[in-house]
């Protein structure tokens, strides 16, 4: 029986790596992957707690997160492709359309 804390520590480590990559990396696809990493870290905590409390709701929540992540991946990739087509780059520092 692996203690819950181990899962939590692993999830925290994964989440921190996700945040660090999110902040450091300039490639949009890498940032995208780091978001997935964070989401899955959260998923891991959900599952860990669900196991600990013997509750199924945490696991159900994970499905929701997965569905949202899938949808997000679809939309996000579409955006990335259209950005790449127009600006010929994937560097986020060069993508500042919002700045007037």
């Amino acid at each position: 029986m692996v203690p819950t804390a181990y899962y939590l520590v692993l999830a925290a480590v994964l989440f921190s790596i996700g945040i660090a990559a999110f902040l450091i990396k300039r490639n949009v696809i890498t940032i995208f992957i780091s978001i997935e990493l964070m989401l899955n870290a959260v998923n891991l905590t959900f599952v860990a707690f669900a196991h600990m409390w013997h509750q199924v709701s945490g696991q159900i929540f994970v499905f929701f997160v997965m569905v949202v992540a899938a949808a997000e991946a679809a939309v996000g990739l579409a955006i990335i492709i259209s950005i790449f087509r127009t600006r010929k780059t994937l560097n986020v520092d060069e993508i500042d359309l919002m700045k007037s």
Binding site: F22, L23, V92, D96, L97, M98
Partner: protein, 682 residues
């Protein structure tokens, strides 16, 4: 049921209101003939209804009061119910007769007088609006509804004074009338609040019944307070000292307006109100004395100013103020019936004088200055003869209307138990002489002597054209009309204007005969007619003192009037130069009178300018611009500063946003984890 008097009452105000709505909304597009037809019909029908009511109330066994027709409760709160209710008693009937009768005649006159004016429909819409509110005022059976009419006639007066609104003097005169009347209304409102506090109702009948049930309330303080506040309101509306200053300026309006609103009807609303509340005033000797003193002071004050005015309408305006002073004086000595009698006759002859003056002005194509008139009596004979009737009537020559009513007031003042009665009588007598003097002065200067108008016109304009420097002509823009008028020169007015003059002239002659006192072989019918309202208290001293005194006083006042005539005759007809010489010899007195005692200047310097300085300096500069604007600007400034501080964060760089997001999330986490422990162990 439909023909019962109660239901017909509603039509008296509602018909003019309908006329106002029709002419006010559609009048611009309607032909002039239709506008006049609507306006005339909507005043003629109420006049007919009033005539029918008159017959009804004169019949034997008629009730003293047509009971109030009550609508649904108008205002209903705990402890106070006010109905939208009309009632008619003998006092109201006289007022209604004046309002609808004289009002109708003046409407007819206006059709001719305003024929060439721009905004014809607007004029009649306002005039009908005035008739509506004035009927509401006199028909109301409670103070609040009276106040509605009171304010409404003020509004109509404002609109009509400022009828030539492109002239700044007219617009300012309208504003002045409105603002000065507000001061009076302030008193009226406070009086109503006190009435609600002490009586819990605003209904006339209930309040007067309550006063009747408490004989111990003689001179009690709260009744005096209410009465004095009502006097303030009445002084504003009826142009008495100290609030009379708006009436001379109100002459900026078209002349029919001056006749209807500022001579015959609206300005008498104050007298009507005092007479209506006579039960209340009778309980307060202080208030009555104040009323009498205000009246007498105003009478002589305005008459003295009227003696030196050069503008024909201003002479009549000061004369109106002076005559209103007489009515106040009558109310003040408890002779309400005499006051109402004078109100009635004054409505006839003063409306006549104003309309005739309007006819003169019309004849001279807008000239109002009497220095530029003279010798007109052959040129405009009908106007001359009708105006002569009016002048004799107001001067108080037997047996014209003014003699009887004025004499009744003077007699009642003389015999009144008031300890200043004799002094007030003397002031009134002096005023009668002055009245006679300035009216005959006007008469001689206008109709006799050398014609002075053509020379002036030639000097100033090269040809006798419409003198556009004066009131009436500024809006009259039809050039063809000018040519026609100048070709004809001085012209008599059309018959539609002369007809009302003739009717009013007849009334000015015979109108006084309803009040011939017993001493002169009459029955003083008007006093008996008003007895159900005022009681027969004022008749008591007449019975005791006999007729000798009354006859002697009448002879004295007739003598004084003739003296006034004689002075005017010598100064302005026989030796025309003497007036100027006299003015030069009594320079200080003349200067004071010509400058109207500097009352306007006094008000301007000591009230208006300090008030404006306070408004500009404190209210505008400190409160409005400082506090109100300042707080708004400060809020804006703070927001902008904050925005300026955070704007640098909006870089458009996604990673910096993400960084802020992460820092924010970390901060929230930190607060959630450590915040509690910080709170628990500070």
């Amino acid at each position: 049921m439909n023909s019962s008097p109660e239901n017909l009452l509603w039509y008296i105000p509602l018909l003019p209101f309908a006329g106002f709505l029709i002419n006010g909304t559609l009048g611009r597009k309607l032909p002039r003939a239709l506008v006049s037809a609507v306006a005339l019909l909507c005043t003629a029908l109420p006049a007919a209804i009033v005539a029918w009511l008159w017959v009804l109330m004169r019949a034997d066994g008629a009730p003293d009061l047509i009971p109030a027709t009550v609508s649904q409760p108008w205002i209903q709160i705990t402890g106070l119910t006010v109905n939208f209710a009309f009632t008619v008693d003998h006092l109201t009937l006289i007022m209604l007769g004046v309002v609808t009768g004289v009002g109708f005649l003046i409407h007819i006159y206006s059709v001719g007088y305003m024929a060439h004016e721009e905004g014809y429909w607007r004029f009649f819409a306002y005039l009908n609006l005035f008739m509506f509110f004035m009927s509401v005022l006199v028909l109301a059976d409670n103070f609040l509804l009276l106040f509605v009419g009171w304010e409404g006639v003020g509004l109509a007066s404002y609109l009509l004074i400022g009828f030539y609104f492109r002239k700044s003097s007219a617009a300012n005169a309208g504003k002045k009338a409105f603002v000065v009347n507000r001061i009076g209304d302030f008193g009226f409102l406070l009086a109503m609040f006190l009435l609600i506090v002490h009586f819990g109702t605003l209904n006339f009948t209930d309040i007067f019944a309550a006063i009747g049930q408490h004989p111990e309330w003689q001179g009690v303080r709260f009744l005096t307070a209410i009465a004095l506040l009502l006097v303030l309101g009445a002084a504003g509306k009826s142009a008495q000292i100290p609030l009379y200053v708006w009436l001379p300026d109100a002459m900026e309006g078209p002349t029919p307006v001056s006749a209807l609103i500022h001579a015959a009807t609206m300005v008498t609303a104050g007298i009507y109100m005092v007479a209506r509340c006579h039960t209340l005033f009778d309980r307060s000797p202080v208030a009555l004395t104040v009323v009498a003193c205000i009246g007498a002071a105003t009478a002589i004050f305005a008459a003295s100013i009227g003696m030196v005015q050069q503008d024909i309408k201003r002479v009549l305006a000061y004369s109106t103020i002076s005559q209103l002073g007489y009515m106040f004086l009558a109310c003040g000595v408890g002779a309400y019936a005499a006051g109402i009698f004078h109100l009635l006759t004054h409505a006839f002859f003063k409306a006549l004088l104003f309309l005739a003056a309007g006819s003169v002005i019309h004849a001279l194509s807008g000239e109002q200055d009497m220095r530029n008139m003279g010798g007109l009596w052959r040129r405009i004979p009908v106007t001359f003869w009708t105006m002569t009737m009016g002048v004799i009537a107001i001067a108080g020559i037997w047996p014209w209307a003014g003699f009887f009513s004025k004499d009744e007031i003077l007699y009642q003042t003389f015999v009144s138990p008031n300890h200043v009665g004799k002094l007030l009588w003397f002031i009134g007598l002096l005023t009668a002489g002055m009245t006679s003097f300035y009216m005959f002065r006007l008469w001689f200067k206008t109709f006799f002597g050398e014609p002075r108008f053509e020379q002036v016109a030639v000097e100033h304009h090269g040809a006798p054209v419409h003198a556009s420097s004066t009131t009436t002509l500024t809006m009259e823009a039809d050039p063809d009309e000018d040519l026609v008028a100048s070709a004809h020169g001085v012209h008599e007015s059309p018959w539609i204007m002369l007809f009302p003059l003739v009717i009013l002239a007849i009334l000015s002659f015979v109108g006084g005969w309803v009040g011939v006192p017993a001493a002169l072989g009459g029955h003083n019918e008007i006093e008996h007619f008003l007895e159900p309202v005022f009681g027969s208290a004022s008749a008591a001293p007449a019975a005791t003192s006999g007729h000798g005194l009354e006859l002697a006083l009448a002879a004295v006042s007739l003598l004084v009037a003739l003296t006034g005539f004689y002075f005017a005759y010598v100064l302005y007809y026989k030796k025309p130069g003497t007036a100027a010489e006299l003015a030069g010899r009594a320079k200080p007195a003349y200067t004071i009178l010509a400058n109207k005692y500097w009352v306007d200047e006094f008000y301007s310097n000591f009230l208006v300018i300090p008030l404006m300085m306070f408004s500009r300096g404190v209210l505008d500069f400190i409160v409005d611009r400082g506090l109100v604007n300042g707080s708004g600007r400060a809020a804006g400034f703070v927001t902008r500063g904050f925005a300026w501080a955070t704007r640098s964060q909006i870089s458009g760089n996604i990673r910096s946003y993400a960084g802020w997001l992460a820092i924010g999330a970390a901060a929230v986490l930190a607060v959630m984890i450590f915040g509690r422990s910080l709170l628990v162990h500070p």
